[in-house]
């Protein structure tokens, strides 16, 4: 069994800072290299923001979840919601084209993590929502 550190948050904008603090403290305690800690902070913020907004869009008032663990030499962070789901096209969108007023969250997470995966469904309700999973190598790659 993997030991997860799990934070359940009401789906509201003012809690995103709590998720960042938890993610950074987990990453530090897992010995994520110091120069990657800010990347973890940013990715936690992006993923939790998206989860909160996904709930808001369909007026779901259930909590969202962020959890972390260490597995196979990597720090793993997952953010789960029970929103309407994240479609294929969005997942692989880049930063090309003219500057836009949104749509940078996923490209930022892809750039600042060592792996980025999206699966439908999640820990909270297997048949609903989205789980975003990001990993960070604990040792710098050689």
């Amino acid at each position: 069994m993997t030991d997860w550190v799990t934070l359940e948050l009401p789906s509201a904008a003012h809690v995103v800072g709590i998720a960042r603090a938890m993610a950074v403290a987990s990453a530090s305690s897992a010995n994520v290299p110091v120069d990657r800690i800010e990347d973890v902070r940013t990715c936690a913020s992006e993923a939790v923001t998206n989860a909160v907004q996904a709930h808001r869009r369909v007026e779901i008032h259930l909590p969202i979840l962020i959890r972390t663990t260490v597995s196979a030499g990597r720090f793993v962070m997952e953010v789960c919601d029970v929103g309407p789901g994240l479609d294929e096209e969005m997942r692989s969108r880049g930063v090309d084209g003219p500057p836009r007023e949104g749509g940078y969250g996923i490209p930022v997470m892809r750039a600042l993590s060592d792996s980025f995966d999206v699966t439908p469904g999640g820990v909270l309700q297997p048949g609903m929502g989205t789980t975003v999973r990001m990993t960070y190598l604990l040792e710098p790659a050689v």
Binding site: E38, T49, E101, V108
Partner: protein, 110 residues
């Protein structure tokens, strides 16, 4: 997040402190809009004292840049904090904003 503003005729400098995220970004947007409404045609957003900013903040800044350009105004971003610069870099927005590291590096007002 707190914002100190200094409005001097048609120039405004908004100095942002703290964290810019989905919770605080709406305030940043409002403060930029109200500077525009007060007649500012050159707005400087100083992020030197921002400890954290994510893509929600970027979106607000892109929106402000577009609105300023439509109104023939200018928006400049000052930032010398490494974690904040990184998000401009990975999104390719460094050059779009022409981010400078100090207020002294800005082009003089025309």
């Amino acid at each position: 997040m707190t914002i100190d503003d200094q409005i001097d005729g048609t120039s405004a400098v908004l100095s942002v402190n703290g964290e810019v995220d989905v919770y605080t970004a709406p305030t940043l947007r409002e403060r930029i809009l109200s500077a525009m409404n007060e007649g500012a045609t050159t707005i400087v957003i100083d992020l030197s004292n921002v400890s954290f900013m994510d893509s929600t903040g970027l979106g607000i800044l892109v929106g402000a840049l577009k609105r300023m350009r439509q109104a023939d105004g200018e928006l400049h971003v000052v930032c010398d904090s490494e974690p904040v610069l990184k998000i401009f870099r990975v999104t390719g927005l460094m050059d779009v904003f022409g981010v400078v590291s100090s207020i002294d590096d800005l082009p003089a007002a025309p």
